[in-house]
Symmetry: D2
Subunit: 350 residues, 4 copies
């Protein structure tokens, strides 16, 4: 397959850096542009961005000149980690001029012709792109991935929803600091503390989860129909969102049947053997004290949902814990996998 | 009131130390014995115990000789922070020989003639002591306080249960490291991590909560009848258990009515103005990001349940966050308050 | 003594809040003004400032209106926690109009007629105020306290310098997060990390330490003459700067003599029994693993230097560890103690 | 090269696990035995050891049966992470029966015929093995690597010592929690804290550093002759020891010359291109705020000393910060590299 030119929009932030890390040696994609706010444009990437991840800045990024975010970027695919105002300004404009935008930002997630995709969960939502292009007169497109907590919940719950149907869900998250970007959470709020609130997070989880698990009926998205309640908390963890999930499933399946559904779960990325696809999208562990962020967040290179403590819930029926790497599976990795999926399916042109 | 002689059983551990801190300048109680395992008995307290709390070891403790735990302790009241095997061996024996044991240990909590008391919530359970003494032929008694997480939940939920009735509760805890004692949780498990499991904790919460909110019918305890589900997690916090609570209440009260019930809640400790009683057993905060352990755990000298984020729950009806100081309100402080209550009510002799 | 009116300049930051905490119930001082940047002026303090310290906001502050920082503040004494540009603009102007400014900011620390005072160490530097007032034609004055790390070093080393004379000092600091204010250090830089650099900190320590331990000769400050090297590091601690100190002392005193000098050390604040004075300005501990921030930073209400591990240094002669509470002894508490000292000595008018 | 059979002694601890991680896919070595205390012998490794490192337990280890540590192990090379009493009992016995023991334990480090080797620094100390074997009548051998802090210091200082000669060194360490093993440091001692003491650490650094930088004169080790002072501290970091180093060098070289010496430094492992050798044993960084554990500990797969902040020291002459990964470069990785070196040099038989 020929290499496609890709740009990272908002390349200096924490998610932008994760994009660069995932794309630096990508077999299908080649970074041709890194964009930033106008103030930093023109400078060498290596001179601007303090690199926040272990392993160091990839050489290919270090030497690139930062570009402003403009409509005429020389790239077929744009991975967007823009701040939300910049996303509102640029993502649609880029799609209009023929770019395929894979956005990590909330701006267009709930638009009624923009797919919100987890590649293993609802790849058929990409069918909405033909409506999107026609209605908006775009030659490009916008595909979004969701909020990091919503992705973690929906990926692990997808096989349960598919096999049995979710009726009700109560979820408490314990979210990592990296989810707030950099500088993000002040250390005086993080050390020896829990902050029981993350702005807009509970609302995003409630809305996006139902879109992820819903369907595209050919003209519009039909949300999955279940009651959802989220408690979102920030804890002193670098990477990896832990979620305590209680569910009611239709038909009240046994724990063994639920476990089988999770273990057997595979999607299009696994069928197509996409470069960023985890071999197992859900890793189910039997130990009573797993998953733990420090031990499990890097399983499957950060692309798996690691589930543990599957057991009966005396109130709702079934409960478990799920961990996902929030800046990989919950952000940059999800976008890259979506782009691989659509490229492989022929949705991005040849 | 004359000062009563009190002993701290298991005085070198973290809860034993909290007992000493709370009793060192107590207006009603005077420490006359500190006990420990036989191996350390006979040594000066200050030479044995590395002191784990800010403020330093009270002078009165430093100079005392550690005693073995025996049935003939010279003390009317024994505060027990014994390890569970030692508690099984000594607590009943001490009660038999006339001591009033206030135990922080699980050994006797669920016995059918042993009261499990939160002083503001179910002081009338002390009526069971007459049955206890008669049946067991004890001249002393055993009163227990509960597991730290169960106390936090039950204290905040008590006015809601009393006013409306709890039907169902789903709770996720984020518990402090001090709850596991010392050395307790290894730092490699705590740093940059969440451990989604605490041995026996979910079971204790489910059992004890129903006993706390139940009643004594003159002959036996009748548990409160509601479904309860707990997810218990350890997070990187020194002191203060945070709990995300979702409830269904009978009659579906408004948020305002629920808030009023919490704010208005007072109990016997407040009526009697007991030395360790908080002025407000429940402190309800309006800010959207409170309570937080580092900011709120010491409110009312660690004796309040601090509640925040009271809001509607799309699944269960109502939800909120409650924080309690686990080694004060959830352990040593709870026992001391129970002893004050029973002393003031005349249940410990004159 | 009549109560003097005091203002806190820059009252919403972390040091401003410490000032309020220390002054809320002060026997000699009464808060009459809290100032802030113009943007927040006019608003109620309780509506503006998220309070960062346990124990909650004092009621007296909550209800006050924030004032802009102007020259005509109704206060005799101004405690300044202003950002440095604002300090440059306002501190001298306030001194000119008759206010006694006790500044926690570096702006005027090294001015050749501004005393840099640790109340126990160099109270006689206040004699410079007559020169200051005369030369600058001020009716008020400026007194500064130093950088938090410099105060910690100088307080513990003062009796050694006084008794023996310091020839050389090599110091490595492990500094708390609160020293950087709020939001200050990003949590992603603090968690599981050490940052081996703090802007300007090593330079401040080297300059200020020599001024603290120097003398006022009637016309000018004469610095103490010794070589000083600092390595400054940020570690994951909320409050309390730990410093590993290696010294060469003139005359090569024994460890016992050095210990005696530290233990015996008292200053004017102790003689005058000032309200904020610690009973022991230096607390020397014998245990081999103390001082520790979490256990020792609150000794003497945060106003002591806690010293431990006094032992021989194979290279320089003597070494030890010193801990001071950086926002109390190293900042707000130091200023308040300086103001008490000058008030008691009659330097602030009657 | 044929694969050599290797055993890991004390395979369940944190260093034992690092050995397994480094050896699982090693091109020259093949794990044939994992030993443990008798109590666990006979059990499957995967059933016994909670795995403490990200990435999960290598499959080859999971299925192995744990063996007791005995003299007749079927392995040419034994990597020892035994507790010190077990090391005293077994290491010499294994060497006597023909095993080449690479020990990570202090037991034999200072023996006068046992080399203490950092492969890049003093590979010629291996010449002592002929004396060792002759004198002790061993067919095998013991080679030790040093304490983790001593290795970090000596590796970075080696080119300075070689080029200029060290006269005096004052070092303050900020050491990671993993250095104390598992369970190791209690979380209540680590969170929000610094512990300014590590048992025996300062003594080990002082002794071992001089042996590392000394020479083997054909009959005995001649220590490097310089004064050394260490302050050792434990900080809240998972992996990576940070050391603040002040040095006096003979001839007072310029900073540029010192930097050149560090940058140019290569040793036998680089010449021989050993599998575990870092390309650059010392990585010198120019940024003013590096190295940092979270960003730099994994450079060169954890086998480099990362140095930064090289600058003048007003007291001793030169100062800098060095970071090394304590359980890789400072422990298991150092032993594996030593074994590779001696295998490549023909010291372990053909």
């Amino acid at each position: 397959m020929r290499k496609r030119k890709v740009a990272v929009l908002g390349a200096t932030g924490t998610v932008g850096q994760r994009f660069i890390g995932l794309l630096a040696d990508h077999p299908w994609f080649e970074i041709t542009a890194l964009t930033t706010s106008d103030a930093k444009a023109g400078r060498r990437y290596g001179d601007v961005a303090p690199w926040h991840w272990p392993g160091g800045m990839p050489d290919i990024a270090r030497e690139m000149k930062l570009a402003p975010t403009t409509d005429d970027l020389d790239a077929e695919i744009c991975f967007s980690a823009l701040p939300s105002e910049a996303a509102a300004q640029h993502e649609a404009a880029l799609a209009k001029t023929g770019h395929h935008v894979f956005s990590n930002v909330k701006t267009h997630r709930m638009d009624d012709d923009v797919p919100l995709i987890i590649a293993e969960v609802n790849p058929e939502h990409a069918d909405a792109l033909s409506v999107q292009r026609q209605r908006r007169k775009w030659t490009g497109s916008i595909v979004t991935n969701g909020n990091c907590s919503a992705i973690g919940f929906a990926l692990a719950a997808a096989p349960l929803h598919r096999s049995f149907g979710i009726e009700r869900a109560v979820v408490t998250t314990m979210q990592a600091l990296s989810g707030a970007g950099y500088p993000g959470v002040p250390s005086l709020d993080a050390l020896d503390n829990v902050v029981p609130y993350i702005a807009e997070e509970e609302e995003k989880m409630q809305l996006e989860t139902r879109k992820f698990l819903g369907r595209w009926d050919g003209r519009r998205f039909v949300d999955a129909d279940f009651a959802f309640s989220a408690h979102c908390n920030r804890v002193s963890v670098r990477d990896g969102h832990t979620e305590a999930v209680s569910l009611t499933l239709r038909g009240r399946p046994s724990l063994a049947d639920a476990a089988d559904a999770m273990r057997a779960f595979r999607g299009r990325p696994q069928e197509l053997d996409l470069p960023t696809a985890p071999a197992r999208p859900i890793v189910l562990r039997d130990e009573q004290d797993r998953p733990q962020p420090v031990l499990d967040r890097d399983v499957e290179r950060g692309m798996a949902a690691v589930v543990g403590r599957l057991r009966e819930d005396p109130v709702l029926g079934i409960k478990y814990v799920v961990l996902t790497h929030n800046t990989i599976r919950g952000a940059a990795g999800a976008s890259v996998l979506n782009a691989e999926l659509l490229a492989a399916e022929g949705c991005l042109g040849s």
